[in-house]
Symmetry: C2
Subunit: 327 residues, 2 copies
């Protein structure tokens, strides 16, 4: 690999060239070994130019109004002079090969703006891989001068944890009166929130939104705060009417100010980077274990024995590891 | 290893001999390679005799009255003809080398009963190791004829997840009016509950307990149920006055009946066994990675580079894995 090969990408991204930004993310998302190597070399050069953006995760079940919310928030941020990138982590894209999130047609206003960049979820591969690629894409967007990065996901469980572990602030979008089953927010996801926003608080829905607000407040305040000094507020908003959006952004920036002042932001990001490294290492170790022909040969049989209670998990692990280590 | 070596353990446990039960658990908890091998051989023989007990996890912060509660529940179960084993997972024992949980002196009545077996948390090692040993001990107790196994832990976070992943039913013991910070239940733990019991609902504390009950009900019912058909109830009790204990046990057996009828119990246990196997495999792979001299040599430097943002987590993982694979 000649350094010259990657220089146009690095220069392009640092100059805020959208085409080179897109091409760099395409390299990151590629599964070709050659592209991956190129992407890593580019990343290492871009890394010193990252870290300045506000990284915000947003989740909510279909119907909560995520697209409208991000469109409204994004447009407001552009007016304030920010540059906004919207990325997505969507585990369903792993199955369908396509992506339903961060679709340009969903954010009608934002998608045609010069200072906004919208990128759908990378398709294919496991959640970890998808999330890892989104994380790297986030950094590339930062290097390209986007100072607010919104990482969007659906409220299905696993992907929320992945997204929360790459952002500074995590917002959960809810709607009132749908009943908790209909909300479909999985166990544990609510606990990730730095703010809960009850959307669609407009028209004759305002009172129901206020009631939901009280309920979520109670639910959230029973468990311990995410770090000393921050209690996730519960607010109402109407993305359709652009109401409450400014207030939510104030919460994000207040949170940022506290995080920065206490040193928590720096600590959090350092830890996130380290966690990511360990995640990748463990994934790779497991991957090489799983693709070991000796392991492959006996895995099905041993798994069945464990599930049928004929072999203890300890013995089974021992056996498989012995096969792997002999190789 | 001669089979004769382990036969007395197997026979002893299956005959319900308490001394051999204790000795077998001591083998399981031992870190000697020879003992571990022996323990694995014994486990494989005992495994077909396990699976019939009700496996119940109990957590709650210090002061919630766990000891009194388990003492009261245990005594009631003995009167009903059950045989009760109490085991513990205590991550603090990893640090202190001792154990504060399942201490025989804490459960005054239960500890002198013939049909009760109390074993403190194994000390030393990481949480995963401690939990793994507790899990195996649980199975040995089942093989010895104990038909209710109570696995106790403190409300500190990680160990609750480990315990919830080895039991059929998870109970969280709370007290009223202590304020949520004082309760000290970590984020996500409440989500593991199959029932929440507000203890110390006695004397002039009854009304406060009822209020806490309502609050927890609201908090719990905002997230999705653990499986179709089960909504974790919130109840009050007084372990000191043995009030509400029978009602809680009825909830446990109702849950069991539903779990068994839907096939969920079998599915859950099969999945738990498989998860445990994978957990052990991943732990071992990480362990062998961490103890690799090449990795050890460069880990501190690379970790610092990642935390300082000089190397991307992807490049760092790549580098360390290359060192490891060359070895």
């Amino acid at each position: 690999m000649m350094p010259g090969d990657i220089q146009p990408y690095i220069d392009g991204v640092l100059n805020g060239n959208r085409r080179m930004l897109s091409k760099t993310i395409t390299l990151i998302e590629s599964t070709h070994a050659d592209h991956q190597k190129k992407a890593r070399l580019i990343m290492d050069q871009l890394l010193p130019h990252t870290g300045k953006a506000i990284r915000m995760g947003i989740t909510g079940v279909p119907g909560a109004g995520k697209s409208t919310f991000i469109d409204a928030l994004g447009m407001m941020l552009l007016e304030m002079g920010h540059k906004v990138a919207v990325l997505a982590v969507d585990p369903s894209s792993v199955v369908t090969g396509g992506s339903v999130l961060a679709d340009k047609t969903r954010m009608k206003k934002l998608s045609i703006e010069e200072n906004a960049f919208i990128r759908p979820s990378p398709s294919g591969g496991k959640l970890g891989g998808v999330a890892s690629k989104t994380r790297e894409s986030m950094l590339v967007c930062e290097a390209a001068g986007f100072d607010v990065i919104i990482v969007e996901t659906v409220g299905a469980g696993q992907s929320e944890v992945a997204v929360a572990s790459m952002v500074d602030f995590f917002l959960i979008l809810m709607i009132a009166g749908a009943g908790d089953e209909l909300q479909g927010i999985k166990k544990g996801v609510l606990e990730l929130a730095d703010v809960v926003a009850i959307n669609k608080a407009d028209g004759d829905n305002i009172n129901r939104a206020k009631l939901a607000q009280q309920q979520y407040e109670m639910a959230l305040h029973i468990s311990a705060p995410s770090f000393s000094g921050w209690r996730p507020p519960v607010v109402t908003c109407s993305a359709r009417e652009s109401k409450g959006i400014k207030e939510i952004w104030n919460i994000v920036t207040d949170h940022r100010t506290i995080l920065a002042a206490t040193g928590e932001l720096d600590m959090k990001r350092r830890q996130q980077s380290l966690d990511w490294m360990w995640y990748l290492i463990k994934e790779s170790l497991t991957e090489s274990f799983n693709s070991d022909p000796q392991v492959k040969n006996s895995l099905t049989k041993i798994k069945r024995e464990v599930m049928d209670g004929l072999t203890s998990p300890i013995s089974a692990a021992e056996k498989l590891l012995t096969y792997h280590n002999i190789n």
